[in-house]
């Protein structure tokens, strides 16, 4: 039996009041203690844990941290806690599968084992990025949706209304424009011949996110509601709004939380423990049925660093081995390098292969880590890459996964802090034919052949 949201909200008003700084520091102190207790050590020579014992200890530490420290509600400044019995019951009560999409595009998202043969669900697209205008947004999203190797796509945002007025988070313009993007997203999947395909988008605030749901023209009950746990181990009422709406409308809930490597999680060992604890928060506190178990670097703008791969990979493996929860890895979703560069494909591949091998789905799109307000900074080809790589890694063992990840790291690691900027859609694609320009296509095929040579079994 799950702890009702209303009980969680009640605890958010009755739990102990704690100064935020003290909560933040207590994460660090407890994770330091737990990594000693459970003998958790990061070895940079082994960015992929091929054994599993370590992951099991990380899981135990993550459970202990979550039960000890709880979740900080930044709205009420109080701690929300659950008991061990409630946590066990919550984990046991979660559905074994989440059905997403409609008609021929309907898919089942199930628990994946480490090295498992279960098909990973891939939701690609230029996640949450800005687009220059409606036509360009439609074109790029349609191009993404046409990739048969992916199961869903993310939307983004148009920064101006009537090419003049700024779209501002928390203002009426946010609601209006995000609603519009949901409609474009929907039209794009229909035009791509995949009307039932999963479509996802997430606005900065809950009213705008909720406004995107509309069975006829926007997001549907067959898509999912994205709920975010604030870093680290925090939640706000704005996040609970999304959960409440999703529960009322029977929309599946997907959660996402990131530990911060170098943040209050401290070292990589601490971050992997906090990643597990954050995942437990998403299920028990925010009622997610599936979730991204993630991390983010505090100093490097890439989700493909050696430390990040170890932190998130170990945490995903920890949850996959120790529960039947539905985990989404999504490492490599935000490469430091931009589109049109080999490094972009290398970083994406390292993360998505590892995600798949460790028992994760990949549902957080694929776009450059920092796009700023540069519009159209992504193409359908990166989505195709994400899909091809994830599906090719199904059933791969950790030894081979480790070999390929190390190979990929050797190709980009020295450039990850200062990566190539890349190009926008306009520079990389034939906009009429919706096909990559020959130079980009050649680069794509070269990297694909390179990885095939390393043992990745692409479907074609």
């Amino acid at each position: 039996m799950r702890v009702p949201l209303w009980e969680i909200l009640s605890r958010s008003k009755e739990g102990p009041i704690v100064e935020e700084k003290q909560f933040d520091l207590s994460i660090f102190k407890k994770t330091q203690e737990l990594q000693k207790k459970y003998d958790i050590k990061y070895d940079p020579e082994k960015p992929v844990d091929t054994n599993g014992d370590l992951a099991d200890r990380v899981y135990q530490a993550g459970v202990e941290l979550f039960l000890y420290i709880g979740t900080y509600c930044s709205t009420t400044k109080r701690i929300i806690k659950v008991t061990e019995k409630e946590l066990r019951s919550e984990i046991d009560s979660l559905p074994p599968e989440v059905v997403l999409g409609q008609g021929e595009d309907r898919v089942k998202m199930v628990h994946r084992d480490v090295e498992g043969n279960q098909e990973p669900i891939v939701i690609a697209g230029v996640q949450t990025a800005p687009f220059s205008d409606e036509e360009m947004m439609f074109k790029i999203l349609m191009g993404c949706a046409m990739n048969r190797c992916i199961d869903g796509i993310w939307g983004g945002i148009l920064l101006k209304i009537d090419e003049k007025y700024d779209v501002i988070a928390g203002a009426p313009s946010e609601i209006y424009q995000y609603r519009k993007t949901a409609e474009i997203l929907r039209r794009a999947v229909i035009a791509a011949g995949r009307p039932g395909m999963i479509t996802i988008n997430n606005a900065p605030t809950s009213p705008a996110t909720i406004a995107m749901f509309d069975e006829e023209r926007g997001l549907r009950r067959s898509d999912y509601m994205e709920v975010t746990g604030m870093s680290e181990l925090k939640v706000a009422y704005d996040d609970f709004n999304r959960t409440a709406f999703a529960l009322a409308h029977e929309i599946p809930i997907h959660g996402t939380h990131s530990s911060v490597i170098g943040g209050f999680s401290g070292n990589p060992e601490g971050a992997t423990i906090v990643s597990v604890a954050g995942s437990l928060q998403l299920t028990t506190i925010q009622k997610a049925e599936c979730f991204r178990c993630g991390a983010v670097e505090s100093r490097v703008k890439s989700r493909g660093t050696r430390t990040h791969l170890w932190v998130a990979g170990t945490a995903i493996q920890a949850i996959s081995r120790n529960t039947k929860l539905i985990v989404d890895g999504s490492m490599g979703d935000h490469p430091g390098a931009g589109p049109g560069t080999k490094q972009n494909l290398y970083e994406s591949a390292a993360g998505h292969i590892l995600s798949t091998v460790m028992g994760g789905h990949s549902t957080e799109g694929n776009r450059k880590f920092v796009v700023g307000n540069v519009c159209n900074f992504g193409t359908p080809l990166e989505s195709r890459w994400m899909g091809e790589v994830c599906k090719a890694a199904v059933g791969m063992d950790r030894e081979l996964g480790s070999h390929i990840v190390k190979y990929l790291l050797s190709k980009y690691e020295d450039k990850v802090a200062d990566p190539p900027e890349g190009e926008t859609f306009e520079k990389l694609y034939d906009q009429e034919k919706l096909q990559p320009l020959p130079t980009y296509w050649k680069l794509y095929k070269e990297v694909k052949e390179e990885l095939r040579g390393q043992g990745l079994k692409f479907k074609d």
């Binding site: 933040d24 501002i168 988070a169 170098g262 943040g263 209050f264 999680s265 401290g266 070292n267 505090s298």
Partner: protein, 220 residues
């Protein structure tokens, strides 16, 4: 420090205070600071070569991944305590007024990681920091800046749709006729120097280290 007219014993005390701060040893730091305060060491020299240098060392250690955000927070607490012990011996009229910075993540944006880092690094660098947290309305930020007589407002935004609030703060300061009272620096994932220039911010930091350098330069 070699050129300073202080004894080896005094130099050792200052060195050991710096080392204790870098080691995040609160008790030892306070103990040594007390010894320095009871000696005839010029407190300004002690502050410069212990606290200020410790902050610099910790900043570098953070940059290369040797220490983490919580270390900087704890070191900041120690520096404040040690600073107040050492400053007791400085005549009030000689005390340099510390520059005050109000920092916040703008309205509609709950991202805290970058803002926290900048706040902690600025505090370590000797600024008085008023961290207002995340999702803070422009008017509230300005009100606080006025109340605490801030020298600078630092604004973080991680979303393209919240960047306009950085502009809003600057525009509101202009409208209220108090733009010249505060320096404004901005930062955050999608924010660029070009954007900072376009909204007439005084400064920009691509990361926490750069933000500190920019603040030092602007408030020198």
């Amino acid at each position: 420090m070699a050129s300073l007219n202080i004894s080896q014993e005094q130099k050792d005390l200052i060195d050991s205070l710096r080392e204790a701060i870098v080691a995040i040893d609160a008790e030892r730091s306070k103990e040594i600071a007390q010894k320095i305060a009871e000696s005839n060491i010029d407190p300004k020299i002690a502050i410069k070569y212990s606290i200020a240098q410790a902050a610099e060392i910790l900043g570098k250690k953070f940059d290369c991944g040797e220490v983490f955000l919580p270390h900087l927070v704890m070191a900041g607490d120690i520096m404040e305590e040690v600073g107040s012990i050492l400053e007791k011996n400085i005549p009030t009229e000689e005390l340099t007024k510390k520059k005050i910075i109000v920092i916040a993540t703008v309205q509609g944006d709950v991202h805290s990681v970058g803002k926290n880092l900048v706040a902690v690094m600025l505090r370590s660098a000797g600024f008085v920091i008023h961290d207002m947290g995340v999702d803070v309305p422009s008017a509230t930020i300005i009100q606080r800046a006025k109340e605490v007589k801030a020298d600078m407002i630092a604004l973080s935004s991680l979303l393209t749709t919240t960047m306009p609030y950085q502009k809003e703060v600057i525009d509101d300061l202009v409208s209220m006729g108090i733009r010249d009272k505060f320096k404004v620096i901005i930062g955050g994932g999608p924010v660029t120097r070009q954007y900072a220039e376009s909204i007439k911010a005084d400064g920009y930091g691509t990361d926490a280290i750069e933000a500190v350098e920019e603040a030092r330069k602007l408030l020198a």
